[in-house]
Every structure is written in structure tokens, then in C-alpha cells.
């Protein structure tokens, strides 16, 4: 090969690597943002990035005057490894034409998505874009549509991760919405369908981009984002950690780590005996998992439910738990969404599910009813009922009424159900049950409060225990708290070969 041809290649590569030029890169840095190329390098294993389509050029603009050369067309695509496992990745480059999505930009993303699906490896998309490239007209809309189509087709086959590190507005935001996990960074991520400007002109409401769709809003109020970080580097650490718990695709298991005992062993002393007292259920999870490690997902959204990953004897395991420390651990519209989405992800990707139950029921309220708690709550029943992965349920304390059924009871198909000796499994809480059953006696009594308290104690003795349910075979075993980890580990081990056949159908119709 001639050295002049080699030099030409080196020159071209150098040009592409400088993105939108020094000025644009400095501007990006001033916003606390890394460049698209730095992001890929920092996220992937050292020297593992192999770039594709470096020399793809932008398509022609609708108007001749707008024609200019955009090398790489504002997006970097390629393959690499994270934790030694292959991934496909793309990063929009805000310094090149504002990261705007033109036809060839979209074609590069589509190509890497197709590669991820064909090779059955996780797809990571880093979004930082001003939106559609208006100069290329409807071709950029076509690009978005084809990306959404591929997000949908790949759903449940390969894990899809979206990292929003800049603006992601309008139609563009539907790609992250169709993926499994959305990562955002404080003060950098901005996601919305209609931006502050449109809202101001159409509705006359003034709001900043941060207050409308910043990282905090998306991870705490709307629930669109699953992970929140203070910096881009913290965000990349979260992604690397998450990928340790999830498999490469739906045909394999997540990798097995070396088994480790939990670091804490105070499981007996965490839960107050009085069912009205609060505690943090994450402490219980830490007594069960290897090295007491637990990676919580969507921690800022619907914190009355806790979902996330840990390991038991080295095997990646999903945890779903009611959180008595927040809103008494009730089920509501948001926690129903959170639990059902998580259960379905784990079911699609072969991760066994452990459910820890301690809840007083559903949150009463006009807002809840009018927001459709019937429809949203039904998602939990649906998600657990259709699950085919091994599942274990442990009733820690309260399990009343509809909440008992919903939290993966044996009736919905739980493979093993255990209860602690303090568990209260009954059709409703003692107080409301007494008010219904002894209504006439309470009305006739001279001192109704004394009678009520007496009846509550009587009810608790008779029904608020695990033994009525155990007597019906609805609980497989009543266990001591200290036996919890061993019992779960054993139950999951014997369920590894679980085969659950479903009737032949195109797909079920989860309420939504």
C-alpha cells in the first residue's frame, strides 16, 4: 500500500475524531458534558471500541443553500465490550450539527441496532441531540420511525439501554421510552415531548427545561428514567454494574459470580413486631444477598415499592418488595407500574424473582381511583401470572386482602411461598375486619371502644397469623427469619429447570 494512501486515511480519521471542532467541544465541556467519543471510551472496556461507518456522509439537504459536508453525520457507532462482554453502542455527537438526526445519521444507528439484534448482544444508545434535522425534511422522520420499529422488535430479545446525556426532545424521546433502562444525569439530561417554548406559546405556562423534564423530574415524578447520577462518570459506573446482573440476550442466563455470604446477619432485628411500625425493607434484602449488595432500580420513583438486583449464591436474582418506610408500603398507580414493568423485564431475561411482602393494601383516594388504579393495579396480577421464571415469595409481616393476592401469591403461580412466624395473612386488616364483622355488637355495646379492642385481639389471635393460610396449603412453609436466605436459595435451585407452558397465542393483552 502506498504511504500517501495511508496518510490520507490517517488524516480522515483524525478529522472525524475531532467531532465538531475545538470550539464546539469546548462549549460541550463547559456544560459539564463529555464529548461523544469520550463517553464511548469511558463506558467501554479499555481499547475495546471498534468504530463503524466513520466516513458516512450526510444526505443532501432539501434546500441547495443548506448543503454542507458532515463527516460521520453526527453520530458515532460501533462495538466494544463492557465487563468483558460484547455490546453494540452509538453516541450522538452534539458538537456535529447539534447531533441532529438526518437520514444517514439514522441509517448508522439502524445498522448498529440490526447488528446488536443479529449478534444477540445488548444495545446502548447515548442520546444528545437537538432533534430532527429540519434541512433533511421528512427523511429524518423516517429515520426516527425505523429506529422505534427496531427498538420494538428487539424488545425482550436483547437488553436495550438508553443514556440521555443532553437534550432528547419531541419524537426522539420515544426511542428511550421503548428501551428497558433509561439513565439520566443531573442538570445534563432533558427529556420532553413538547418543550418549554411550545408550552409557553400554546398554554401560556412558563417553565424551565429542567423543571419540565430534567433528570430529577424524570427519575422522581414521571418515572421515565430508571437511574439518576450526579455525573456522567457515575452514570457509566451504574451501567457497568447493571450489566453484571442482566444476560446478553433472552436465550442465556446472566453470568454467575463467585458465591459470597451476606455481610450483615441482623435479619431478626429489623422488623418491629407491631405491624404499624415502619422499617426499611432494603435492610432485609441486604441480609439475603451475596455480600449484602443490592442495586436498586427506579429508586426515586414510587419509593413505596423497592425493585432491583442482587445475587444469591452467585446467581443474579431480582427483588420486589413493599417498602413500609414510605407510604406504609401501599400499592398505588406508580408502584404498580414500577413492579409490573420490572417483573416483565426479569421474566423476559431469565432472572428469578424474589418477592418480599409487607403491605396494608392499596392507597385509598379519589386521585388514585380517577388515575385508574384498577387498570394499573391489574398489571401486577398480569405480570406475575404470566411469569415463567422461578419465583419465590416471602411474607414478612402484613399481607391483607387484594395486596396479598397481587404480591405473587401462590394463587398467581409463585413456585414457593414462605411466611415468617409474625406474618398476618387475612382478608383485611384486623381493625377493618372487626368493624365489618362485629358492626351490630359494636353499635349495641355500652363501651364500644373496649369491645372493639377486645375483638381486635381476638381476631388477631384467630386469623392474623400464617397458620390459617399454611393450613390451607397457601403457604409452603413457615420459616424463621434467619432461615430466609437458605430457603430462598434452595427454592430457586430446585426451580431452575422450571417449564411453564402457556396456551398458544400471538401475545397476551396486559391492561395499559
Amino acid at each position: 500500500m502506498s504511504s500517501s494512501k495511508n496518510k490520507e486515511l490517517q488524516k480522515l480519521r483524525e478529522k472525524v475524531k475531532h467531532g465538531g471542532g475545538e470550539q464546539a467541544l469546548e462549549k460541550q465541556m463547559a456544560l459539564g458534558k463529555l464529548s461523544a467519543r469520550e463517553r464511548i471510551i469511558d463506558l467501554l472496556d479499555n481499547d475495546s471500541f471498534q468504530e463503524y461507518d466513520m466516513f458516512v456522509q450526510n444526505s443532501t439537504a432539501v434546500f441547495e443553500d443548506d448543503r454542507k459536508e458532515i463527516l460521520g453525520d453526527g453520530v458515532i457507532t460501533g462495538t466494544g465490550t463492557i465487563n468483558g462482554m460484547p455490546v453494540c453502542i452509538y453516541a450522538q455527537d452534539f458538537t456535529v450539527a447539534g447531533g441532529s438526526l438526518g437520514m444517514m445519521h439514522a441509517k448508522k444507528i439502524i445498522k448498529i441496532m440490526d447488528r446488536a439484534l443479529k449478534m444477540r448482544v445488548p444495545l446502548i444508545g447515548i442520546n444528545d441531540s437537538g432533534g430532527a434535522r429540519i434541512q433533511e425534511g421528512i427523511n429524518s422522520l423516517a429515520g426516527y420511525g425505523e429506529i422505534f420499529y427496531r427498538n420494538t422488535m428487539a424488545s425482550g430479545i436483547i437488553p436495550q439501554i438508553s443514556v440521555v446525556l443532553g437534550p432528547c426532545a419531541g419524537g426522539a424521546v420515544y426511542s428511550p421510552a421503548l428501551t428497558d433502562f433509561v439513565f439520566v444525569v443531573n442538570k445534563i439530561s432533558k427529556m420532553f415531548i413538547t418543550g418549554p417554548e411550545v408550552i409557553r406559546t400554546v398554554l401560556g405556562e412558563k417553565i424551565s427545561a429542567e423543571d419540565l423534564g430534567g433528570a430529577k423530574v424524570q427519575s422522581q415524578i414521571s418515572g421515565n428514567a430508571h437511574f439518576f447520577a450526579q455525573s456522567e462518570l457515575e452514570c457509566f459506573d451504574q451501567i457497568k454494574r447493571l450489566l453484571q446482573y442482566i444476560p446478553q440476550n433472552n436465550r442465556v442466563k446472566a453470568f454467575t459470580a463467585d458465591p459470597l455470604p451476606p455481610r450483615r446477619n441482623d435479619i431478626e432485628n429489623i422488623i418491629p413486631q407491631d405491624p404499624r411500625e415502619a422499617y426499611d425493607v432494603r435492610n432485609i434484602i441486604e441480609c439475603i444477598t451475596d455480600n449484602s449488595e443490592f442495586m436498586e432500580i427506579r429508586s426515586g420513583f414510587a419509593p413505596n415499592a423497592v425493585v432491583g438486583f442482587g445475587r444469591i449464591n452467585g446467581e443474579s436474582t431480582a427483588f420486589v418488595a413493599n417498602q413500609p418506610a414510605v407510604m406504609a408500603g401501599v400499592l398505588d398507580v406508580d408502584s404498580s407500574d414500577k413492579i409490573s414493568a420490572f417483573v416483565r423485564f426479569c421474566d423476559a431475561f431469565n432472572i428469578p424473582i424474589v418477592t418480599l411482602v409487607d403491605l396494608p393494601g392499596y392507597l385509598p383516594g379519589v386521585d388514585q381511583e380517577h388515575a385508574g388504579i384498577i387498570r394499573h393495579g391489574a398489571k401486577i396480577l398480569y405480570a406475575y401470572s404470566e411469569a415463567t421464571v422461578p419465583t419465590v415469595t416471602v411474607i414478612l409481616r402484613k399481607a391483607y386482602g387484594g395486596g396479598y393476592i397481587a404480591m405473587n401469591s401462590i394463587h398467581l403461580g409463585a413456585d414457593s411461598v414462605f411466611a415468617w412466624p409474625d406474618a398476618e395473612i387475612s382478608v383485611m386488616g384486623p381493625e377493618s375486619a372487626v368493624n365489618v364483622i362485629f358492626r351490630k355488637e359494636l353499635m349495641a355495646a355500652e363501651n364500644p371502644e373496649d369491645v372493639r379492642q377486645h375483638k381486635i385481639q381476638e381476631y388477631k389471635k384467630k386469623f392474623a397469623s400464617p397458620y390459617v393460610a399454611a393450613g390451607m396449603g397457601y403457604i409452603d412453609a413457615v420459616i424463621e427469619p434467619s432461615e430466609t436466605r437458605t430457603m430462598i436459595a434452595h427454592a430457586l435451585k430446585v426451580s431452575q429447570g422450571k417449564i411453564k407452558s402457556a396456551p398458544d397465542k400471538k401475545h397476551g393483552l396486559i391492561p395499559m
Partner: protein, 101 residues
């Protein structure tokens, strides 16, 4: 930890309350004797006058918003008491266009 109380099924639970829960809007019975604008826009046509009897489905106003001419129809029957806009006027969201009795 500073716990608050949440009552579920007649039992007071010690717990913490989310901002979202604390900021929820208490329910109010809807008021049907007012015609309220849903989006800001320009009133281009008024079909009614004070004292006029109206029935559900009657056209009341036309306004331009979101690149459309939108028609406001009566939801209930009654008599128009006041009209608070004139044709050509720009009005904001939640503006009470007319009151009925």
C-alpha cells in the same frame, strides 16, 4: 427518622409520605354552570347572547388554538347569564368565557 401517620383500613401506620402524595390536589366537584377555556386562543365567533336559553350540543364559541378552529358546545342546558369575552379577543387557559344559571 421523622415518621408521619397514614391511615389504611382503619389502622394508623407510622411511615413517611412522598412529596407527590402531599402535593396531590384534593378532589372538587365539577362545576357545570361555567364555560371554561381549555387552551389559550383567539375567540373568533360568539353564537350566544345573555338571557339566551341553551341546551346540550348548542354551539357557543369558536376559538383558534393549536392550528385549529375549535368549537365549544354547551354541555348542559340553562340560561346564559354573562359573557366575559368579545370576538377577536385573545384569552388564556382556564378563562371563564360565560356563566349560566
Amino acid at each position: 427518622m421523622n415518621y408521619e401517620l397514614l391511615t389504611i383500613g382503619g389502622t394508623d401506620y407510622k411511615t413517611t409520605l412522598t412529596e407527590k402524595f402531599k402535593n396531590r390536589r384534593p378532589w372538587q366537584k365539577p362545576v357545570y354552570n361555567r364555560v371554561v377555556l381549555q387552551m389559550p386562543g383567539k375567540i373568533t365567533k360568539i353564537f350566544i347572547t345573555p338571557g339566551q336559553q341553551i341546551k346540550p350540543g348548542d354551539r357557543l364559541f369558536v376559538y383558534e388554538a393549536m392550528k385549529m378552529r375549535n368549537v365549544i358546545y354547551a354541555q348542559t342546558s340553562g340560561t346564559i347569564k354573562t359573557i366575559n369575552v368579545s370576538e377577536g379577543e385573545d384569552v388564556g387557559k382556564n378563562f371563564v368565557l360565560a356563566e349560566m344559571e
